[in-house]
Symmetry: C2
Subunit: 254 residues, 2 copies
Amino acid sequence: MTEHKLEFAARPDQAAGAEILGFRPLYRQVKAIFVRRLVEGVWAPGMALPSEGQLASEIGVSQGTVRKALDELAAENLLVRRQGRGTFVAEHDERRILFQFFKLVPDDGIPRFPDSRVIGIAGGGADPRERQALELGETEPVLRIRRIRSLGTSPLVLETIVLPARIVPGLEDGPVPNNLYSLFATRYGITVAHARERLKAVALDAEQAGHLGVAPGTPALAIDRIALSLDGSPVELRTSLCLTQEAHYLSDLR
Amino acid sequence: MTEHKLEFAARPDQAAGAEILGFRPLYRQVKAIFVRRLVEGVWAPGMALPSEGQLASEIGVSQGTVRKALDELAAENLLVRRQGRGTFVAEHDERRILFQFFKLVPDDGIPRFPDSRVIGIAGGGADPRERQALELGETEPVLRIRRIRSLGTSPLVLETIVLPARIVPGLEDGPVPNNLYSLFATRYGITVAHARERLKAVALDAEQAGHLGVAPGTPALAIDRIALSLDGSPVELRTSLCLTQEAHYLSDLR
DNA sequence: TAGTGGTCTAGACCACACA
DNA sequence: GTGTGGTCTAGACCACTAA
């Protein structure tokens, strides 16, 4: 079991050692303990957590404090809570990926998970942009995957995925699954927690257009994604060129 | 003061009348009371709310229940809570708009609020797409505003805004402010609570390209936005054509 | 029926802002 | 100092799930 230490005792009136650090609520410290267990794989995807009461007495805080920590993790999609059943570590199943990470939907409005066909996979050196985005060392190699994704019959997305070779050893030796993030979790113990996407409109060059079966110069949506793991370190740089004649990128502003 | 009625008494063991309705937690009912006050303008933007204790005793629930309702509203950006000061109704000031509703940022990464220049404003009939998106009656008129927005010196966005004429009477008679949502709130009592955007990549036609000072056929990001008010009714249909040579659309996936 | 998360309450104390 | 929101606790009961 992961070792843990609280800056504060369970009861505020027994608090000590707060002079140097800024104030950090107890439930945040408890949350940090839980995050560490997720990072270290002590709690693996799909697993049921101990009940709130068990966690509370184990750590030595009240059930309400544990609850607040678990609620925040559930709000961040790292845990799933189900009344009457328990609290579970979130899985990168298709439904979750579709909802959380796949924003390109057909104009008919029904989200679907796209097929994919790998057209290239190779290791190599990183260019400066990749090195910066993935926080790589000076000569650290990367693995590049190129694939074409389609929602129906015709190609829709030309995808270039760049991964630090260090974190996905042996990936190039086997087939690349459609759902890459699920593989990260099961094979490499890496949880993709969130991602930042930058979108631009571009005109396809001849090579890109050829892969997608359209005329050169066709406008396409260029999506640069940086995916971050649980601990905030970059895991993937993915550039997608999307045809948007029959699909669109959906963004909810709240 | 808004009249309110709770389905359940304050204490669960005094509950009654739950047989027909599904279970609805007390704090959700309290939240609904608060939303009504926001919709009706009893609580206006910038106002300080009564303290948690005052609200609790007024409504007849515990402070914790009031807190949970207020927390949800704060999470939805409808209220702003500040420790030591109080709880306030959110305002559509530039900072909030910039953060919540303006996702186009310069490639240097520093968000700025764009200037805008109106190039056309006129009333008229709605086309079927507008009628459907804005949930308009058969012959209900709309107001169309067209403007050009720029972040630095050169034009960046060509914007077409369609509003139900009914909800913005007299808007065409005065100057159109840069920050439209702030005007909605102050002049018409309408709070834009969230929005849904659909993005596509398109090639600009000659007229569009002319306004933006680029060559026809230049790729641009087309953003269709539907803005929804507090009660979920559509308030605005906005189509933006954005040049993305020196800017990008930022989307955070969590 | 037992066990889980979800709701609600009551009370104490802490961090923060402001006069 | 006074008042506000924020944290933490303890205990009771409710809603849901599964055996």
